[in-house]
């Protein structure tokens, strides 16, 4: 998708100190998330403590980008002007191979092919500025 200032786009994430690494990695084509050194679980979305055990001892790592659809829906109406050109589109919860679940989109020309359990892989959609959105496509 190309963007220019005259065309409304998806909301652009407002990055903060902790999430900056996630968005920088995404802009470079990588999916990175923190893994907890106390309980060994990867969490999404990134935050200052592990939401599973409360530890602050976290290490960022690159993920495979592979996952499977846990559930999905199709937005038939745009939730804002920036989505008008995109409807209908798939919004899905993706269970990543490394454990965490992620709300994202699955890009497809065939809505009927989308199903729970479908293998998907990460892709990146460039938005304005330095932001790229991690979205998915059928693997």
């Amino acid at each position: 998708m190309t963007t220019d200032s005259a065309t409304p786009t998806r909301p652009i994430p407002i990055v903060d100190t902790i999430t900056a690494r996630f968005w920088k990695a995404a802009s470079e084509g990588r999916l990175e998330l923190p893994r907890c050194n106390a309980c060994d679980r990867v969490h999404y979305y990134p935050r200052a403590i592990c939401p599973h055990c409360g530890s602050e001892d976290l290490t960022w790592e690159q993920l495979s980008g592979r996952g499977a659809i846990y559930s999905w829906t199709v937005s038939r109406r745009p939730p804002g002007a920036g989505f008008k050109a995109l409807v209908p589109y798939v919004v899905a919860l993706i269970d990543l191979e490394e454990g965490p679940r992620m709300l994202s989109n699955v890009r497809t020309d065939d809505l009927d092919s989308i199903a729970i359990g479908m293998a998907v892989t990460v892709d990146f959609e460039a938005l304005a500025g330095d932001i790229s959105l991690p979205i998915f496509r059928p693997a």
């Binding site: 909301p11 994430p13 999905w72 109406r77 939730p79 992620m102 709300l103 994202s104």
Partner: protein, 388 residues
Amino acid sequence: MTRDVVIAGIAEAGLDKGVFAEPVSVLDIQAQCASRAVADAGLQMADVDGLLTAGLWAVPGAGTLMPLSVVEHLGIKPRFVDGTNIGGSAFDAHVAHAAMAIEKGYCDVAVITYASDQRSASGRNLAGKPPELNMQFDSPFGLLTPIGSYALAAQRHMHEYGTTSEQLAEIAVAARRWAQLNPAATKRDDLSIDDVLSSSMISDPLHKLDACLVTDGGGAVVVTTPEKLGAAARKRAVYVRGYGESVSHWTINSMPDLTTTPAAKSGPVAMQMAGVTHADLDVVQIYDSFTITVLLTLEALGFCKPGEGGAFVENGRIAPGGAFPMNTSGGGLSCSHPGMYGMFLLFEAVRQLRGDAGERQLEKATTALVNGTGGGLSSTATVVMSNR
């Protein structure tokens, strides 16, 4: 120190075709309803020493510190205030919070208020959440709010258990049939399963008619202790017997299991506190923002097993004349839904327990359960009450 706690007064703002019959501001709706609910309890506004409120109006602005604006507008000086906002279940949680304050003698007469002019002001804009903080991982992906979260849950429930769109439609049809017995309900024309299934798809698998109405609405509830009441009000008082609440997330990304709502926790807590079993419940009012909300909540509360909600609601079971009467006002699906519906569950439960429900009055109405759900299946609050 512990005291009995009762709901002693209710007042609901009148609607005409889904908008306020008397078009005053959201603060004035709350002031009018507070005054009328206090009168319904046989009390004076000067008796009110507790105020609980939640809403979505005037943020930023007068609604930012919402309890302060309501206190000021009501002209009261409470010693107990609660602005807990956990979505539509907030007012059911407020009953619990007021009960705890009253049980301990922290306050004596608490008023819970709500108003929304979302229909008349076209002010409903739940989708406009700035993509900051946790929303930077939600808003950019274009999930419709709030229906998208419920659609993801419905899709998952269908996958795991074979639940069908026809079964979900039964819930909307039953609500409409109850609404046809309620002269105050907004939607009273006939509705069939086919009508629901042929309404436009909004967020698969949920159709337009799987979703609640968008109306204005407001009201007030008086929670107090019987010793504050005169004989007449005491006779009409409804006892708060048990309460529970549970919150697990805001964005649907963080919901642990999309087919189990927090009611699986809040329900048993409330029922155990009240010392009741499912068989003791005559009146059940369950938040129906969407048809799937009802189905998931019936399972979470243990009225049926996980996965059996679809079969449970089939064949008119929850409609008038069915074996499991529920949402007897017509609910959020057909009576009214002003964005946050939890207080309206309380109104209908109290009406049934007082014997004030007119043509839809249940023959036996002694013990009621109310379950509010807020956010995207994010929070629940359960209240068990009885008329003796």
